[in-house]
Every structure is written in C-alpha cells, then in structure tokens.
Symmetry: C2
Subunit: 586 residues, 2 copies
Amino acid sequence: MYRTHHCGELSLDHLNQTVTLSGWVQKSRNKGFIIWADLRDRYGITQLVFDEERTPKTVFEQAQNLGREFVIQIEGTVIERESKNPHMTTGAIEVLVEKLSLLNASQTPPFTIEDKTDGGEELRMQYRYLDIRRNPVKEKLIFRSQVAMTVRNYLSKAGFIEVETPYLIKSTPEGARDFVVPSRMNEGQFYALPQSPQTFKQLLMVGGMDKYFQIVKCFRDEDLRADRQPEFTQIDCEMAFVEQEDILNQFEGLTQALLQTIKGIEPKAFPRISYEEAMRKYGNDKPDIRFGMTFAELNDLAQGKGFGVFDSQALIVGIAVPDAAEMSRKEIDALIDWVKRPQIGANGLIWVKCNADGSYKSSVDKFFNEADLAAWAQRCEAKAGDLLLVLSGAVNSTRTQMSALRMELAERLGLRNPNEFAPLWVTDFPLLEWDEESRRYHAMHHPFTAPKPEHKELLKTDPGAVKANAYDLVLNGNEIGGGSIRIHDQQLQSEMFDLLGFSKEEAQAQFGFLMNAFQYGAPPHGGIAFGLDRLVAILGGEETIRDFIAFPKNNSGRDVMIDAPAPLDAQQLHELALQSTAPPKE
Amino acid sequence: MYRTHHCGELSLDHLNQTVTLSGWVQKSRNKGFIIWADLRDRYGITQLVFDEERTPKTVFEQAQNLGREFVIQIEGTVIERESKNPHMTTGAIEVLVEKLSLLNASQTPPFTIEDKTDGGEELRMQYRYLDIRRNPVKEKLIFRSQVAMTVRNYLSKAGFIEVETPYLIKSTPEGARDFVVPSRMNEGQFYALPQSPQTFKQLLMVGGMDKYFQIVKCFRDEDLRADRQPEFTQIDCEMAFVEQEDILNQFEGLTQALLQTIKGIEPKAFPRISYEEAMRKYGNDKPDIRFGMTFAELNDLAQGKGFGVFDSQALIVGIAVPDAAEMSRKEIDALIDWVKRPQIGANGLIWVKCNADGSYKSSVDKFFNEADLAAWAQRCEAKAGDLLLVLSGAVNSTRTQMSALRMELAERLGLRNPNEFAPLWVTDFPLLEWDEESRRYHAMHHPFTAPKPEHKELLKTDPGAVKANAYDLVLNGNEIGGGSIRIHDQQLQSEMFDLLGFSKEEAQAQFGFLMNAFQYGAPPHGGIAFGLDRLVAILGGEETIRDFIAFPKNNSGRDVMIDAPAPLDAQQLHELALQSTAPPKE
C-alpha cells in the first residue's frame, strides 16, 4: 500500500500515529542537521522532517538528495510543529520520517509548480501535465467535474435521460465548418463530426424520449477567435410536449440549482427581457446586468436645439456613469479617444457632469441650457455626482459603440464583480437576419427554429419582422445557453427551407432524414444547449476557458503537448484512398 | 401547457378529475357509437374513450379519423373502466374525452410500434426514431442512462474526478485502425480520433490527478465483426499510488454497486483466477462460470492404455455434462459432428456415460475398463447420471475446442441464465505474445503495461514467460473490463519499446510526449477500462449491444438512417487540400 493518508488530512488528531504518505517533493530546506521537505499530492501538502538525531542515517542521507518533483513514499510519525502555520490544514503537524523510498526521480521542471508560476502560456501548454499539478489548474478541473455532476444529478432527478448520440455523422449544409473523417471501409466516403447533436436530439423527440440531455463534445473547424476551441463541450437538452415557458422554467431551475450548489446563492427568479429591449437598453443581446448604466434615448430631448451633430442622427443615447462627475478633463479626453479608436469607431462623445450641487456642466453648454441637461439626467436616471456620456449616430452602430463603452467603464470602475452572478433570459429573437452579401435571409438561430405562432402569416409578407420562440440564457454578459422551440410541422419546415434559399433537392439531401421523420408524428418540442466550458469559467469567476479544459488547443487549433495535428505517412493516406495536395513543409 | 399528467400515471385515485394528456395514438377501436383509443407517451398508455352520447359531436367526428401514431392532445375526465386490465398501471381507468386537438398527423409507420414488431433489422435501423418508440428499445436506452449515472455517482463518491480528454489527438503506432481528421487550419495535417484516452489518462496521473474517470466515446476504423461498432463507449479509469490489489478492490466495489443498484444483487467477493488457471480450467480467458463443466486433464489416467489416439497427444481433457448420461446415441453423434465442423476443428469426441447405477459405458470401452473410467469421472467431478466428453490434441487448440463445446452445451442445456450474474477477475496475463508472422513480440495488453516486479529480470532472458500486472473483469463469459498497472519508469518503458521492436526514433515520434512526461516524476499508477455498451447489454440480460445504442451503425460502419458516410463535394475536398483516389461509384 502506497499510503495510509493523503497529504491534506493530517492534524493534531493524528499525533504520534505512524503514517505512510506518497507524493511529490514540493521543496526542501536543508539546515545541515535538519531537513524539511514539503510533500504534495492532489489533496494538500504535509511537512516532512528529517533530523540528524532521530532519523535513520541512510534515510537522512537520501533526504539530502531529494530534488523538486521527486516522487517519494515515506513512513513516519506525526509530531507537533514548533512553529505552526495556521493557513494550512496540516499546518500544526509535521511527519518525522523513518523510512523513505524513492518512487521516481524528476528532472528540474521547466517552470515552478506553484500557484503563481514563472512559466509562460506556451511553455505551460507544452508541459500541461506539469501545469495540472499546480493548484489553480487542478482546482479548475475538479470544479468542472463538480459542475457537470450537479447538472447530471439535477436533470436525472427531473426525469431527463442522458442519451449518447453518434460522433460519426453526416456533413451538414453549414458543412464548411465540419471536421470530416474519411472512412476506410467505405472508400471515398466521409463522416463528419457533429457541430452539435441538434438533429439527433430532435429525432429522439420524434422517438418519444421526451426529456433528453447529454454532456457532449462538439466540433467546429473554423478560424479560432481568442478563447475558442475546435472541440468544445455542450450540455445539450431537448423536451417534447412543451412550450417556451416550460423550457425557461426547467432550465432556470437547473441554473438556480447550479448557483446554489456550487456558489451557495439562494434561488431568485431570473429577469426576462426581449431581444428588442436588450438592444434598446444595453445595445447588446447578452447584457451584463450586474451594474446599471442602462441606455436612455434622448432624441426628443436633444434634437431641434441647434446642435447640428445631433439633429441629423437616427439615435442619441446616453448613460449615467455612477459617481464619475469628478472625472478630470484628462480622463474624459482619454475616454473620448477610446471611443474614437477604429475598434469602436464613434465620431465623438458628449459629456455632462451632474454636479453635487445640482448644477450641470457639459461639453455642449453652447447648445443646451441647465433645464435641457436636467431633462437628460432625469431620462438617464442620473443622480447628483454622476457623469452622463452621450453618443449619437445610426441606430445599430451607436448602440454597439455605447455597449462597448458601458462595458469598458464597468471594467474600469470595478463593477464586474466575478463573485456576483446576474443571470437573465433574453427572448423573442428575430427568426431571420438579412445577409447583404448573399442577398438572402439566414436563420438567426438555426433552420429548425419555430416562428412565434402569431407571426406565421408574416413569414409570407415580411419575413424580417418575424420573431422566433428563441431564447438565450445570459450570465454576467456572456451567453451561456441558447435554444428555441422547433418547427415540428413538415409543411412549415419546408417553407422555412424555401425562405433560407435551400432548393428542394438541397433540403432533401441534407435534412431528408429529419423531414422524413417529421412525417411520422413529430411532437411539439424545443430545447436548449449550454456551453459547458464557458459556463464553468464564469461560475469559476474567470473570463477565459482554457484553464478549465484539461488539454486545450492553442489559437491555431494545435495541441502543442502532443504536437497534433501532424502529417500522415503515405501508406495511411493510400489506405484512405486520399492524396494530399498541400505543398510539402519546409 | 400540453399535459397535466403523463400516460403512465392515472389510476382510480384520479377519478372524476379533469386531465390533459398528450401523446401518440397507439391504436383505436371504433364500435360505431363508441371509440376507444390507446394514447401512448414515454411513460405508458392510457385508454381514451369517445362516446356518441357524452363526447361533443365535433370531437367524436375528429376521433373517427385518428390514425396510428397521430400526435394528439386531449382534455377529459378520468372515469372507471367497466372491464379493467390488471396488467396495466392505468388499467382501472379510462379518460372520457371532451376536447381533442390534433398536434400532428402521421403516415402509417413502416412497421408496428409494438413490443414485438413486424419490422426487420434493416428497416428498424432506417427508421430508428420509430424503433425508439417501442418499449424494448426505449427501455434499453433508459437502462443505459441509469447504469451510467450509477457509475458516475459511485466513482464521484469515491473521490474520482471526471476529466474530459481531447477527441482530436495524434495518430498512434497502431494507427492503422485510427480514424483520422484532416485539419483545415493546418493544411496537409491530420488529427486522429482516440482509440482510447490511454496516454491522456496516464498524463493526468503524472499531473497528480490521482483518481480519474471518464465515460467517453472511442473510435476504431476496422473491419467490423458482428456486434462491434466503429464508435463505442468506455468507462475509462486510472489511479495513482496504487497497486493491483487497490484497483481490483476499487472496481470490484463499483461492479458490486452496479449489480446491487441495478439488479438488487447482494455484494459477494468476486473469485479471482490466473490467466493460466482460466486457460487450464475453461480453455478461455473469459470463462462463463455460471455453470460448471470445468476441464479435467486426464493425460496421466488415459495415456499408456493402448488407445493410440490419446497416447500421441499433448493434452487429453474432459468435462462432465450434468445429467446428460441419458443422451441418445443420435444426440451424441450430433455433438461429435458439431465438434468436427471446420469452425471447431476437432478430430473426434470420446464420451463416457456415468450411469445412474454406478456403471460406465463409453465409446472407448475397448481400451479402458470401468476402473479407468471411474478415475476419469472422479477427476471430472462427475456424478452418476452425468456424461463425460473428452477431447485430445495440441494444448491450445484442444482447449479452444473444449471451451467452444462447453459453451455450446451450456446454451443447449439452458445453463446461461441471463438473470444470473457471475463476475470474476482473471489476473496474471502474459506481458507479451509472440507473433509468428512478424517474428516479434506484441504487447498482449498495450505497450505501457508493467511486468510483474519479480519478473523484471526475465524480460532479458525469457520475455515470453514474463507475467504482467494485468487483469480482466469477466462477467458471464464476456470481458467487461480490462486494465493493468502501468510502467512509470522511463528506463523500463524504453526497454519495453525495444522488445516490441520500436526503434528509438519510432518510440520518440509516437510516444515522445509520454516519455518526456515520465522524466518529471511519474507516480506509480494503473487503471482499467470497461466497455459500457457490452456491460449494459449483459446487465440487461442480452447478448447483443445494438439496441442499447440509440443510433448504432451497421456491420459496414454505416448509419442507414442518415446515410453516412457519404462522398464530399469537390469544394470541401479542395479546402482540405485533399484529392480522393477512390474510383467513382456507379
């Protein structure tokens, strides 16, 4: 037996007991006549002591050669420490070592195995197995597994069945992003890896499995934006015989259970706002509502007062930055520069200080009097001491700019507290969006999303105005889940494919099996999918997902630890009936 | 709201309540003035009644047009049935329908949605979404999810962390069976899909994550034997700072928990036998021990008695078939023909009847007297009334033949009771097996398996005799799990690669990252993996796995429902920098 205890549990309760421990040497201090070493395993650190007088001579000699990350097994007696460390579970004791066995030596690791390491991102990824030894990474992986177990337990208790859908499927129409897999047994033919189990979960609904979930890997072969992975994990769910309301309630329950179990947060009903309201109030369909600064539209108050810049614009929108009236001219100028950067693209920024004494001072005093500015302040729900910031321009771009400014200010003012959780539902998304380039409608969600029943007729006359029974769950400014009620009527589905520009043949080739299935009694159904990587990161109070993934890939989709992807040898390609047309690498 | 209750719950307790139900029309009977329909959902069946007098006229008319598998929603009153069906949960009531809404019509399904269907395998696979509506398939999928949850709960409670390892990895040396995935972002390069997460779980051990598990899809692109799938699911586990004994105990605990939770079987210690003993007693390294008929070696008793057939053979082995002495000459001849078939390949079969009166009658009476036969019977642990069957020949082939005969007899005698569960551990597998064709050793398990510590020296002198710390968990004649203690010493691993015929360069190219990891303090570790598909099938009392998989592939690796794999269009191939060399299909 390699251990009687682990390195995180011994205390004064174990005094004078003989124990066996195994683990890694975190560090050691050699005082000549006495050597201390920190022994580490997954559970914690226990201090070992080797003492010239009390430790057998051969063991003492061995102890002098213990390097960092050596793997050892020791037997010894739990004794009380002279100087205790109250910050460690095991800080009151140490183990006086009597036997020592070297299980494995170690080269000096390329970076320190400490909470704050000296290793850069690339090096840590290359030696990910060492990085995982560090508490911050190890704890994130453990945290992830706890979140997944909580999800599974909640959904199982609610009657959901976890069904494994296939990974080797068929390439879909958005196939440009599919990873494909050549089949050796079916020469010249390919499987595709799923971008999501969407069609399979709908087929399960047709199959009567009315509450389905799966925690499942999905795949997308696309240029990776920062913090995206070519393989990612979804909590994929679907229900039959439900309306939107049933789904929102069910998965609000799941999210509340997560917040409660993982974060100890008492359940509270989630706010719900429509997509239109989200865009109007936050300029964003995934608003961070941990803080205010909601948008106020000032057109009626600010136009026709002789300020030409405003008069010609479609939208004038302001926010009240809390307690920022004291901001210096220099700071404000920096903000103006910030919004004028090409990434944001605003033409300028109007400011109004709501002074503590009730007076106003603005960058547009020439055009607006105190009463005007007071009306703006009231519309923005500003209080004395706040700073109003106002942007104007075309509706969509101005909202986007103001949203970016709002988030930036929240960041600077420390309003994005990672330990606060502000979930909300965004509902009533448009069914379609117009793509200027291809001159046709695209499904905003996916082609199976149902229009709101009362908008069915609009599909024929004004498709762009049709709202969908589609919803996103937003947490702290991130979309953590999204879903919709699906079309279960074959006729309506076929109309949708027409609208989206699929020919009958294309629709049949790509979705024939789903359309066929719908001929045999498809029930009303809908669902949702959560991005587990993102969800776990946000619950863990972080913005980046990479450390919540055991073996992530870099921004080029490479695993630098195992050096994948890699060329195949000619024989393998030959067996797959393939030839590479890529130029040979230098 | 689509339903207030589901179709499996209403009873006399709900009498006179108004309820809303949704589901599929299983069947209906029209008596003219009264119509009964069975409404089905995932949970059961409820009888609906439409009555000329009590049902609104329009509803009654609608009811006359309800076809099989139509999806409907009804509102009605729970009333007592005149003729009750005690075999149904809902058999005491029916619902008198007041409102009916047709949610979706259905074409007549291509096979009946009944427990015993008229649909053949191929048709059922093509319309798998309809097949899943049938109880036997639906229940198997639900059963599978229960098994998986039980596994997760047990292992989580035992401190195991579920860690997701990557699906897009690097092709391995047994790469001939890898599915590969061309990368668009890394032109000319390929990922591989994992045949198992073996190296990643070992890296997790190096990373200090000392108890890992994962329920994970694995992939193998090979000619499919019956009842194999190109994608399959493993319960993959690994532990650090453990010896073989720790692993056997831990996973015996898991299997006991499964048998108890799923089957109500009280935990009992699993027998353990060595590979050698299994081969000697059962001629098989995955013996079915639900029944006896263990092998008895008769060489010393049966040779030198003038029966030339025996005298020249390496092995003479017998089994006692219980209560089969009465078998007719014709039946015995049929058995002899059975073992002589080319699939078995025996030259003949000797029989001895242990008559009820204590006398013996055999096919070799000319050479053996009653005392000889009595000694055989004693060695075979036969009782009066049993039939001895004896084969002879080369050791391995004779054992294989006798094993096949033993299983066939058990099948014929009804000794393979699917509701009895007889697990056992088979241990001490040989580390290597000699391959005549390639004239070198292959790893019997895989190249990371550790030799028994006391056999390390043998590696240099007699590799074929080295036993490994490798073990299989066998249940009812199926290997449901297998694993080993791994090599954690870099030097020993490198010796193993030498023995297996890997050049330094090959070993470095294929396993470099694992060998590198081992330089930084790899702990002693080992693990096991269970085949979930097989495990679930056996626990479900069945021999074939296909119906325990929601969307299985056929023996050519095809999903006939979605028609995958399929050719890619030229544009997709071009983007992947690939050309197909497969001849175009007719």
